[in-house]
Every structure is written in structure tokens, then in C-alpha cells.
């Protein structure tokens, strides 16, 4: 059921008791939230569990959303905190930039770079895989900036750091991403030129 309501209107009506409208908010943001959790946690099952937890927390705290930021910014702050809590609890292995095992994992998967595949598709697949090789912090900031379309100021609110620090982190994440691409996807990187 799509009502064409914007986030603020939906939230107001949910708060007035139309709980079923929350489904629309979930559908609107589930892919973004799941992509973020997946890129940080790097395990599909856990990421899905955490993403569900995020939406439940957001629902319970909906009354505290003051509308000072976009709903998505508020929601991604919950994603960030929930992921941190989850990783601390589970003490998951944090994939480092130089973890060659990850590259082995990537290589063991089906290669998407078939000769007849479109060049653009190859680029996208390469970018996705390269993001998968990044540390959780780098993957998170890249995803927030490119996929969640958050500005530097909004990311600074989500991560609770200064805007300048976000800029520096994003720049460093891009450098590391480029290095990953050049190291592991040299052929595809040539096509970027």
C-alpha cells in the first residue's frame, strides 16, 4: 500500500496510531539500511538481524524524532550505533584493508567479469567488491556518501564527528578504495581511464 506521503507525514500519522503505515517507511529505507549494515558487518544473516533491530528501535523511539534533520539521517545514526553495539558484542573479526584472505574469498566467488558483460556492469561489480574489501569504517562512510546520499554535514551528525573530520575520513577511504581497486582489479581499473 503506497499512500505517497512524505516521511514527516507518515511519522505524524504513525504517532497518531496508524501503526501499519510504518511498513511504508520500512520499505522506503530497508535497502539502504540493509546495505549499510551488510557493508559494516559483512555477514548477510547478521546484517539482516541488525537491520531489523534498527527498524524496531526506530519505531520505539519515533516520538523522539524531532524533525531537525532528515528522517534518513536520524535512521542512519541508529544504524551506526546498532552496528557498533553488535560488533562489540560479537567481537567480530574486523576486516582490515590488507587482509588478503578477503581477496581470496572474493576471488573464490563467481567472477562477474565475463567477456560479454557490459563494461558498466563490470565497473559497478568491481566497485561493490572493492568496497567489500574496505574496513568497516571506510565502507560505512563510502556507503553513507554515495548510496545513502548524505551530505558531509549529515554524516557528521550520524557519526558524531566534525564535518572536517568526515571530509578527511572520506578522502582517506577513497584513497584506500582506489588502492584496492588498483591492486585487485587492475584490468578493470584501466577501463576507468
Amino acid at each position: 500500500m503506497q499512500t505517497g506521503l512524505n516521511d514527516t507525514e507518515l511519522i505524524s500519522r504513525i504517532l497518531l496510531g496508524e501503526q501499519q503505515l510504518y511498513e511504508q517507511l520500512i520499505r522506503r529505507y530497508q535497502d539502504y539500511v540493509f546495505t549499510l549494515t551488510f557493508r559494516v558487518i559483512k555477514n548477510r544473516e547478521d546484517a539482516e538481524e541488525v537491520a531489523q533491530d534498527v527498524f524496531i528501535k526506530a519505531f520505539r523511539s519515533l516520538n523522539n524524532f524531532k524533525g531537525l534533520s532528515k528522517f534518513s539521517t536520524w535512521l542512519y545514526a541508529i544504524v551506526h550505533n546498532t552496528c557498533i553495539t553488535f560488533l562489540r558484542k560479537k567481537e567480530l573479526e574486523i576486516y582490515s584493508m590488507d587482509n588478503e584472505n578477503i581477496f581470496a574469498k572474493v576471488n573464490s566467488q563467481h567472477s562477474p567479469f565475463d567477456a560479454n558483460e557490459l563494461e558498466q556492469k563490470a565497473r559497478i561489480a568491481m566497485a561493490n567488491k572493492a568496497i567489500g574489501l574496505l574496513s568497516q569504517d571506510d565502507a560505512e562512510i563510502i556507503t553513507l556518501f554515495y548510496k545513502a546520499e548524505q551530505s558531509l554535514e549529515e554524516i557528521s551528525n550520524i557519526l558524531c564527528i566534525e564535518t572536517n573530520a568526515v571530509k578527511v575520513r572520506l578522502h582517506r577511504a577513497r584513497i584506500r578504495l582506489k588502492e584496492k581497486m588498483e591492486k585487485h582489479f587492475a584490468e578493470e581499473v584501466k577501463d576507468l581511464n
Binding site: Q20, E23, D31, F34, T35, E48, I56, S61, N63, I175
Partner: protein, 171 residues
């Protein structure tokens, strides 16, 4: 330490649309005339495009349904500001004001006012005998009031915790 922004840093600012007007003109000129800048720009724009086009991951088909089933047992929490009972805040405030005032009175009365033999106060603080105010009876009453206040706060906290546990147990 080199604080000059690198070519890549300047180009990323340009690509993200965060460069100043003067910087835009400079960078465009450099891209046009400098081979290194041109090559780096091409590489970064290619990477930027690929990053923008990356696809979102999709959760399982039951994702939304699972959440809706779970939240059916929940109600939306009241605003954080409404948890805070104003009476408690006022009680805590009053308690601290009382303690600070008592300490100030005590401190003033301990001062050796007769040092220069004169005082500008309308009364002689030296005549106030704080020992009488802080005798064991008053001290016990004071302590008892604080203990009762503490128990009341603990009771409220435990009640709230119980309600929270009960609502979580309904999932």
C-alpha cells in the same frame, strides 16, 4: 608536514562540487592543459561514477513482515522528556540548595571574625553555635529524610525497569 592539498584532494572537492569559483576555474584549466591532472581526473570520475551506480543490497523477502510482526507487540515509547518527573528534578535541586546553604552557613560561622575586632554584619556570626544545629538529633532527621528520598527514587527506577521487562517479554 605538507599541508598543501594533493591533486586528488583538490579533484575530489571539484567532483563533489565543493570547490570555490576561483578553484573551479583553476582546476578546469589544469585538467585541460596538464596531462597528469587530466589522467587523474579521468580515473577519479570513473571511480565516482562506479560508486554512484553501485547497487543496493536487498534483504530477504520476509524482512518487512518480520519487523511488522515484532513491532505489533510494542508501543511507541513516550518522548524522553516525559520520562523525567519534574517533581524529582525539583526535589534534587532543593536538596542540593539545602546542602550548599548549610555548608555556606557552617563555613561563615567558622571564620575568625574578630581578627580586626570589627564586623560590618548586623549580627555577630560568632554568636551562632552551629554545633547546636548539627547535633545528633538533627543529623539523624536529615539522614532519614535522605534515605527515604533515596528509597523512593530506587522504587520508581525498579518499577520502570519491571514495566520495560514485561513489555519486552511480550515479543
Amino acid at each position: 608536514m605538507n599541508t598543501q592539498p594533493s591533486i586528488e584532494e583538490r579533484l575530489w572537492d571539484y567532483i563533489d562540487g565543493r570547490s570555490s569559483q576561483d578553484e573551479i576555474i583553476t582546476i578546469e584549466r589544469l585538467i585541460e592543459n596538464d596531462e597528469e591532472w587530466k589522467a587523474t581526473y579521468r580515473k577519479l570520475t570513473g571511480m565516482n561514477e562506479a560508486l554512484h551506480l553501485t547497487e543496493l543490497e536487498q534483504p530477504s523477502l520476509r524482512f518487512t513482515k518480520n519487523i511488522m510482526e515484532k513491532i505489533a507487540a510494542f508501543s511507541i515509547s513516550p518522548k524522553a522528556i516525559t520520562y523525567i518527573n519534574k517533581k524529582i528534578i525539583w526535589s534534587i535541586g532543593a536538596f542540593f540548595i539545602l546542602v550548599i546553604t548549610s555548608l555556606l552557613i557552617y563555613a561563615f560561622t567558622r571564620v575568625e571574625w574578630s581578627a580586626n575586632g570589627k564586623t560590618s554584619l548586623p549580627f555577630n556570626p560568632g554568636n551562632i553555635h552551629v554545633e547546636n544545629l548539627f547535633n545528633s538529633t538533627y543529623l539523624y532527621i536529615f539522614m532519614m529524610v535522605n534515605v527515604v528520598l533515596g528509597l523512593m527514587l530506587l522504587d520508581k527506577y525498579l518499577q520502570r525497569k519491571k514495566v520495560k521487562h514485561e513489555s519486552q517479554g511480550q515479543i
